[in-house]
């Protein structure tokens, strides 16, 4: 295997940070997050407790707030007639390199691709970012207590969805290019040829996953209402999930600049777990009860989404289990479906 030593890795990442936008895991106030870094020294390299950042990498492709359009209302004098609006959009044009992408994050992007890229028309913002990004993956030596990536078809050393995969070894990282982008990225990097193959990761006990078609018979189960009683209807589970992608769109006024009347159309993350999500004009809310919302959330992941787009919308990362304030546990839901 080809190994990149720790000093060589730092040199390489420093160079990347100069040429492009480098995003990597970084600890802030005791929380591990994916953040822009200016140099390798800012990165929090993996340790025993730092398995994966709290937020997923989807932020770099589908930001929590994004301007879709800039809208200007022109005064009558300028148009020589009735007032008109002028709209402009600016697509992102930065080249991104993301270091330390865990396999569960990378496979989340593949799930998002099914909705954002493989439909017609594709989402131009997501598409642009996807085209201009390179993913440097980092295999997990072992799975965490809440991880179940292997059970949903992924794995802690699964390299399918990154451009280049790194594995922790003595003195550095074994590097395995996966795509052309990954090979290109490694050009000129100092690599040491050593014997053997990159290490395989330690696995946890599997979690039983119900088949996609096993869900509809359970739609009326009292289980949903009972489990959801303790749900707070916050939106954490959706926001930390690598595959959740629902958003809200609104037109909002911008502070006026030099007398110009400016508005923007923004989209922001939203979640079906939130109470106002399904409220429709007139005030009716078909998912007013917490049980209905949670049922929707899990059905969407394992039934609706795969039916419509192909992949199941869960990568087994376990973030939702870690952050839920009241221990709503996706593996308990899956067990209920499997055991009936």
């Amino acid at each position: 295997m080809k190994v990149i030593s720790v000093p060589a890795l730092h040199t390489w990442l420093d160079a990347l940070a100069r040429e492009k936008v480098l995003i990597a895991p970084k600890e802030e106030a005791g929380v591990l997050l994916y953040r822009r870094v200016g140099k390798a020294a800012e990165i929090t390299f993996p340790g025993k407790d730092a398995l994966r950042p709290v937020t997923p990498i989807k932020e770099a492709f589908f930001p929590s707030t994004e301007r879709l359009l800039l809208i200007e209302r022109l005064p009558a004098e300028e148009t020589g007639g009735p007032r008109r609006i002028r709209m402009s959009e600016s697509l992102p044009d930065e080249e991104q390199v993301i270091f330390g992408v865990r396999p569960c994050d990378a496979s989340g992007l593949r799930v998002l691709d099914a909705a954002f890229l493989d439909q017609s028309p594709p989402d131009p913002y997501y598409k642009r970012r996807r085209e201009r990004s390179t993913l440097i993956g980092l295999a997990c030596p072992e799975m965490g207590p809440t991880c179940f990536c292997k059970s949903v078809g992924g794995g802690p050393d699964d390299a399918n969805d990154v451009d280049l995969m790194l594995y922790e070894v003595e003195g550095g990282y074994a590097a395995r290019p996966v795509s052309k982008k990954g090979t290109l990225l490694l050009e000129g990097v100092e690599l040491i040829e050593t014997k053997g193959d990159p290490p395989r990761s330690a696995l946890m006990d599997p979690v039983p996953i119900p088949d996609m078609l096993a869900w509809p018979p359970h739609f009326q189960d009292t289980f949903w209402g009972q489990m959801a009683e303790r749900c707070l209807s916050c939106r954490l589970c959706a926001y930390v999930c690598p595959t959740c992608r629902c958003f809200d769109v609104r037109d909002e006024a911008l502070p006026g600049e030099d007398g110009r009347e400016l508005y923007e159309r923004v989209r922001c993350w939203d979640s079906c777990a939130g109470e106002p999500y399904r409220r429709i004009a007139g005030g009716h809310n078909p998912r007013a009860e917490k049980g209905q919302r949670l049922r929707n959330r899990f059905f969407c992941k394992f039934h609706y989404y795969p039916q419509q787009y192909g992949p199941a919308a869960c990568t087994g990362c376990g973030r939702c289990i870690d952050v839920c304030p009241v221990n709503i546990d996706i593996t308990e839901v899956l067990s209920h479906l499997v055991e009936g």
Binding site: T79, G80, R84, R86, M87, E89, S90, L262
Partner: protein, 173 residues
Amino acid sequence: MTASPGPSAAGLAAFEPKILGFLCTWCSYTGADLAGTARLHYPSNLRAVRVPCSGRVAPELILRAFDQGADGVLVLGCHIGECHYDNGNHRTAKRVPVLKALLSFAGLEPERLRLDWVSASEGERFARLVGEFTEALRLLGPCTWRASAPPLPASLTWVGIPPGADPAPGGAV
């Protein structure tokens, strides 16, 4: 996300604070009106917003004013005991100082938010208050509360073409 450096002496002289004023209809707004009819001079830095009662001034309004770039916010109501709605100004009297403490804790100089009482006949008092507040803000300098937003893109590409405009696509603004 850091606060900008303080203004220079030359900058201070040129700095005109933007003040948002909430004036209650029955007392302070009428008092301001009286200052006008009596031809009393007071700085034009104050942008007045008339409210039915100072008790209507919600803290969210004040927060928004600072977020939108106000250098100071002035809330003027009736004297205690003289409120047209009996006790609207009681709420203001209790709420504004609590809001001030919160904003100060979050990094806003407490002198930028001021609550005072002006009755309908106190045109002079109104003019004096506004003058004092403006000068105090001038000395404090521009407010650094608002976190800077990302700048607008340098060149914008039109989406679609408005009727009557140059049909060449992709014209820059």
